[in-house]
Symmetry: C2
Subunit: 376 residues, 2 copies
């Protein structure tokens, strides 16, 4: 895709790089358009993409995945190089390509937070005069602002995910287990993702709703339980991420009140979202109010979303990013009462030219705490 090649060339210039070597699963998908499943399940089956200022990009892929690369990628089929996983070292093929491209004494950007110590060692030995620099920031910057095709995927998928969660709440009842909720979610997800991948959803009930990323168990849903459900997964390689909380039976006054505060924290944060705004300001405003209520704020209230689940920009107090049009954020205040229960509300939001637009949270009123039937 010409736009992404152009963007990579911009980054080469901005970061004073002569080449970029891409290896992380998410960035491989970004720069090639293909998702190679065994790169994730069998870690040694590396995929390596190389671009220089002057040369068209090439990609190195294990031979049994070459057909998938050919089928899914927009890259020139002639630039796809395959290897035998048992007899060839893909890193050596990449190094030979870098030599062929005249990179022996040049500045090569790599994802050093991912590149293994063994492969780094090989780079140093085979290209002793090259300068290997960390290009993590260049990739982050590239993927900050979503292109139209990315927005289309995120919006069309995300805008349906609420139905899956509320559908599961409607099918569940006291006496069923967390795993039953998982199965309702799984079926609903399959319906809208049409064969794409769901991550294991977080399903926690009662005291288990405290666990931030707890997987569903055989715990039985009981009247009065708080039930927290967080659904994540991909369609066409792009993530959705949406969380809701329900109560089994009629909410108590205290439960309803706690939820109202969480909704206010959520709505106040989203109200501030528009280009030019500082993420740190949004977080600090949130944390101040949360603390005033006697709630203990979690380390962040939001994160970017795209080819990965949590990506820049984060909305927290540690980093400060200025929001820009076509960023996609998840806003997710969470309130855990230790040893008792946890409440969470999460929606996907697009930064527009003059404000924002909700991607999730538009079809079911989240302002009211959801319920699950208590009569078994």
């Amino acid at each position: 895709m010409k736009e992404i090649t152009d963007l990579q060339r911009e980054m080469l210039k901005k970061y004073h790089l002569d080449a970029m070597v891409t290896m992380t699963p998410e960035n491989i998908t970004y720069v090639t358009g293909a998702y190679i499943p065994t790169q994730v399940t069998v870690r040694s089956r590396k995929v390596i993409h190389i671009i220089t200022e002057k040369h068209d990009p090439v990609v190195i892929v294990v031979n049994i995945e070459e057909p998938i690369m050919r089928a899914q990628s927009w890259m020139d089929p002639k630039s796809i190089i395959s290897y035998n996983e048992f007899t060839q070292n893909p890193m050596m093929i990449a190094i030979d390509k870098l030599k062929e491209f005249g990179m022996e004494t040049k500045r090569i950007g790599m994802e050093l937070s991912y590149l293994s110590a063994i492969d780094m060692d090989l780079m140093h030995r085979e290209l002793p005069h090259a300068e290997i620099v960390n290009a993590d920031a260049a990739y982050e910057e590239m993927r900050f602002i979503k292109m139209q095709f990315e927005l289309d995927r995120i919006i069309s998928f995300g805008s349906n995910i609420e139905e899956v969660i509320y559908g599961a709440f409607a099918s569940a009842r006291a006496g069923m287990t967390e795993k039953d909720i998982y199965r309702f979610i799984s079926n609903g997800f399959a319906e809208i993702a049409k064969g794409d991948k769901m991550s294991m959803p977080m399903v926690g009930s009662g005291v288990r709703s405290c666990l931030l990323n707890g997987e569903p168990t055989d715990k039985v849903l009981e009247k009065g339980d708080i039930v927290r459900v967080d659904v994540m997964g991909t369609k066409d390689n792009y993530y959705c991420d949406c969380c809701r909380t329900a109560v089994v039976g009629t909410p108590t006054e205290h439960q309803a009140e706690t939820w109202s505060k969480l909704v206010k924290a959520h709505d106040d944060a989203i109200a501030q979202i528009k280009p030019g705004v500082s993420t740190k300001t949004i977080y600090d405003n949130f944390a101040r109010q949360f603390t005033e209520w006697g709630f203990k704020p979690v380390a962040f209230i939001g994160h970017g979303l795209g080819l990965t689940l949590h990506e820049e920009p984060y909305i927290n107090t540690y980093k400060d990013t200025t929001l820009r049009e076509n960023m996609v954020l998840c806003v997710e205040p969470i309130h855990v009462i230790d040893g008792e229960c946890g409440y969470q509300l999460e929606n996907e939001v697009l930064v527009t030219a003059d404000g924002h637009r909700m991607i999730t949270g538009t079809r079911h009123p989240y302002q009211q705490l959801a319920t699950i039937r208590a009569d078994g």
Copy 2:
């Protein structure tokens, strides 16, 4: 778990290491008993386990996952150290722990095929007099032979997976799509895995059955199509991996004959499995016969199975491992007719004291090519 701590201490001795620092998701699960989901979905949330000859193991985990570590791990709760992902670098905590354990000038084994270049650099800077060596082989060796609790998990799960595949074949018919088969598999898998994780299954029909790891598409099943289905996923962190081929409608004579040969290749390979046998011999025998038939052998006919999908020992021509009791292998001959279709048969096999035992392939006769109804 005492057995695993003891085994690690054996490896320390055998590989002349003073400490082992574990970081890969699979080995973290092995040494702690816990599976930390966000270690995989958010790569920066590292989990680090340290053991020395003299010190009890400690594990470093992101604070929001600490409850999961406490709930799932057999480690002493006092030895679980948590960190804030935004303010603390888990690698620095590990380095401080190594210093506290007196490892400044010692031999530290790490998974250098996984450790990132940035973290390796930090190790070198902070522990300049320590010797950092690659311990990949020690982990491979540890996980070669399965303990009883591992076998129990693998067998109880694997022995049910055939039903899922044959159930999907029985529910499918011409006119449906590959994604319909995916949904049947997904539902069946959820039933037996009870909330555990399925990897995206391989579902390829017609010419798409050539793709070794193709994900299901909207391709419609047509009469005469070869349909190849490979199901992988975990229950209690241990994998199953089973593949079957079907034809839509009645198999032609040529299809039936091809399948018979694949069955013979599969059965002949399994017949040789017992302690003391060389994996290379098994592969070479297979490859010779396959070639005589005019089939092109794929690079391997089998692989180990456990906490990862493909692990040592491989049954191929490049490596030679002597089989030992309580290894678990997947045997999977595959025959691809380029541009036409692909056949594959895969079963899980346990190496016993005096031979082997099939884990899958016992409930439905795989000797006959499976069928899918052609009358839509």
